[in-house]
Point group: C2
Chain length 459, copies 2
């Protein structure tokens, strides 16, 4: 290994490299903590040409490469545990261009999502993909996992907002995919193939993002509900009547954690389920419609209580109850499942899922929450203080196998928005058929015959 490291330093003297143990550890892992980082070195290219030089060097020496963004991933997609060269896009974080007529923003991959939001706002527009990790995740990583988040019911996933990608292939070639065109029926759309490919088909070095008009002023509500059946009823009613931007739910257990972690209580009572709901409310008439929908849901017994934010500060406080959950659970090093089913399959799947979790985790706390409007549930299993990490993961893996089978029965996905990475790799077959996996392997070989890009991830 040290020979290779010396060769790298010698062959590419102008590219910034990190090799100190603390740096190798820092850049060699993501938000999962199950693997011990052991990269060859960390390269911090300054531009596309340096990324190409690095990939070509790696190909020449048959060294595997792990592309690396904000490393906020929850599936181990950016873990480097086997002497890989980590190519971190941390230094490539510029906004390169804004095209006003086409409403396109061209950025480098290391730019944090929040900086994309700010750049869009500077032009009076929005980039609408959003989620809690916005400050630390990078747009390149968002593209690699087709990130979803909290506004999907209104705006869709990252995929919908990528109008062009520049990508360095395993050979070191530079692809310029789709170039911001709205209509382009000229063969296979490699841009869409790259999105969600978790760094296995190429390294995104530039992205051209679609922007759109900001939504009208919105209102935020917190709702308290008796059960999941009521939640589905309220969602259907609200979806029908209100221009929803987001509709997120969580359980009393999740609320307990986020309150203990410093968030402020918004309702007096304690209830089994909660939802944070945001909707367009440009006019008093729109607010009136929302209140009528709220009252109807109260009359039906679908709602137990609720509050409409009276200020931006209160809206932010309500959102914190939902967005603070992941952070509040972090100290427990939770085992995470991130699953989805069709929205119409949610009730039946939930019944099976609650049954399974109750049976299989009798003495372990399970916190779940999610994006009900797009059928996406996050299940966090908390490690008991007296259980060894290895035993805990063993038990969780066993339950995940059962959960995967349950998902398969309901036509769902073992990864809604986190990606497969290392964590979900053994369960990919519950979501994708053997024929699909064989085709994916064929595609991967076509792009990367030597298997150098993010090996071991996905499949």
């Amino acid at each position: 290994m040290s020979d290779l490291r010396e060769a790298l330093l010698r062959d590419l003297p102008d590219i910034r490299l990190l090799t100190a143990p603390a740096e190798l550890e820092h850049y060699g892992r993501d938000w999962t903590r199950r693997w011990n980082p052991a990269p060859l070195a960390i390269a911090l290219p300054a531009d596309t040409s340096e990324v190409q030089q690095l990939v070509r060097w790696a190909a020449r020496h048959q060294v595997c490469v792990v592309p690396s963004g904000g490393r906020t991933g929850l599936s181990g997609g950016a873990v480097a545990a086997h002497g890989e060269l980590v190519i971190s896009l941390d230094r490539m974080r510029q906004v390169l261009a804004f095209d006003a007529a086409a409403r396109l923003l061209t950025v480098q991959p290391g730019l944090p999502l929040q900086a994309v939001h700010e750049a869009a706002a500077g032009h009076g527009l929005i980039y609408p993909v959003d989620f809690a990790a916005r400050g630390s995740c990078s747009i390149g990583g968002n593209i690699a996992t087709n990130a979803g988040g909290i506004r999907v019911i209104r705006y869709g996933n990252t995929r919908e907002w990528v109008a062009g990608l520049k990508v360095v292939t395993a050979k070191g070639e530079l692809l310029d995919l789709n170039r911001g065109l709205v209509k382009n029926s000229s063969g296979y759309d490699l841009r869409h193939l790259m999105i969600g490919s978790e760094g296995t088909l190429g390294i995104v070095v530039e992205a051209t993002l679609r922007l759109t008009d900001p939504p009208p002023p919105s209102q935020v509500m917190l709702l308290a509900l008796p059960d999941m059946a009521a939640l589905m009823q309220v969602f259907e009613l609200f979806q029908h009547r209100l221009p929803l931007q987001a509709f997120e739910f969580f359980t009393d257990v999740a609320l307990r954690h986020v309150l203990a972690h410093g968030a402020s209580r918004a309702l007096d009572g304690d209830y089994p389920y909660y939802a944070v709901c945001e909707f367009d409310a440009a006019t008093e008439a729109a607010e009136e419609v929302a209140l009528q929908a709220f009252e109807k849901a109260m009359e039906q017994g679908w709602l137990l209580d609720g509050v409409l934010a009276q200020s931006e500060a209160q809206a932010a406080a309500l959102w914190r109850l939902r967005e603070g959950i992941t952070e509040s659970l972090a100290p427990y090093q939770p085992y995470k499942n991130d699953v989805s089913v069709r929205i119409s399959a949610v009730p039946a799947f939930l019944a099976d899922m609650q049954d399974l979790l109750g049976r299989e985790y009798p003495h372990i706390e399970v916190v779940w929450f999610g994006h009900i409007g797009d059928g996406n549930l996050h299940i966090n299993v908390l490690r008991p203080a007296d259980m060894a990490a290895e035993d805990f993961i063993g038990q969780c893996e066993r339950v995940t196998k059962l959960l995967a089978a349950t998902l398969q029965r309901h036509g769902g996905s073992i990864s809604a928005e986190h990606g497969i990475g290392l964590v979900k790799r053994d369960y990919l077959g519950s979501t994708r058929s053997a024929a699909e996996i064989a085709l994916m392997q064929g595609i991967r070989r076509a792009f990367d015959p030597d298997g150098l890009l993010n090996p071991g991830k996905l499949f």
Copy 2:
């Protein structure tokens, strides 16, 4: 050939086959008329299982297969001129399911686009992709070319509306891709790879389509303009002020043809350019905003005249001026270019394009029109009565080569929405790099190692 045909009849006696010369000719070609149809036979499977049997039979006998929909294509993608087995999806045209909570409509591929619209309307929703061939094209063909059309500025292309696909592969396997999930980050999105692949990677046997709420009531305007610069100004102004559904333009030459073909004149004067514009106008206030924008454009000299439809009948008559163009040109067997550039590149590209067409077609009539809001121009070159078809096509191919080079300079695409098929195959390299084409070839080999699916199309 007749041995193979006998084997087919003998091996698959229960599948409907057509072999009469008139049927071979009818099903062996699309709206292009440049190739002489010469298929082995036409198979009309009744269901997915029959499609699989046919593909497996073809693989066993190494017979090439041409998947076939409404055959309204303009790029030769459905042409069978070399003894291929045509698998027509004409008999698979059922609506299979409607999922109210998820707003998904599952249909067979042979269903005409218009029938998809009607099925959606039956549930109070819309499938928003729309274009003039709606009555004869099939949804499977729309998916194979990622069809665009007249509502792309509001709703995007076909790709945006496909939530799931069932596909029969070259091996006869059945893939069930994405299954209507909103969030599914579980490896490469083969659904998006299939969309726009022109029948080279598999045969779509079922599609699950997203539906959405109908737009508010709309208004239709016809605008008369002095030049393309003014058109761009008006588009930018209208896009900024009005919730546009469509913004289509055409030239005086196009209008002359459509009027000669039976459409009714809507303005008294003659003008160089026209646009048909449709926008949401639920309230009188919205109409007022539109009239103010119209007046501003008149004051600026960007508009010369215009009319706002006063009834649905008049709106339909205005639309006919744009939508009737293709049909009015059909008798001339026009040579078609269907190109796109980024919207911000339209003015510079148009200047070069007009220059090129004026220089290269001095004695040939060229009719152009298109979707200005998404940078898509349709160029129709009309064959002079005294020019032999072969000479005409030779000349057009020569100019297309120059046009492709012009597009390449402006970062455009040689096929915006018609696909590559046979007609644009030689120009693919102007839009996609050699590295991209090599990757596409690799993908195609991974899906279809024997090269049996729609051979010769795309590349």
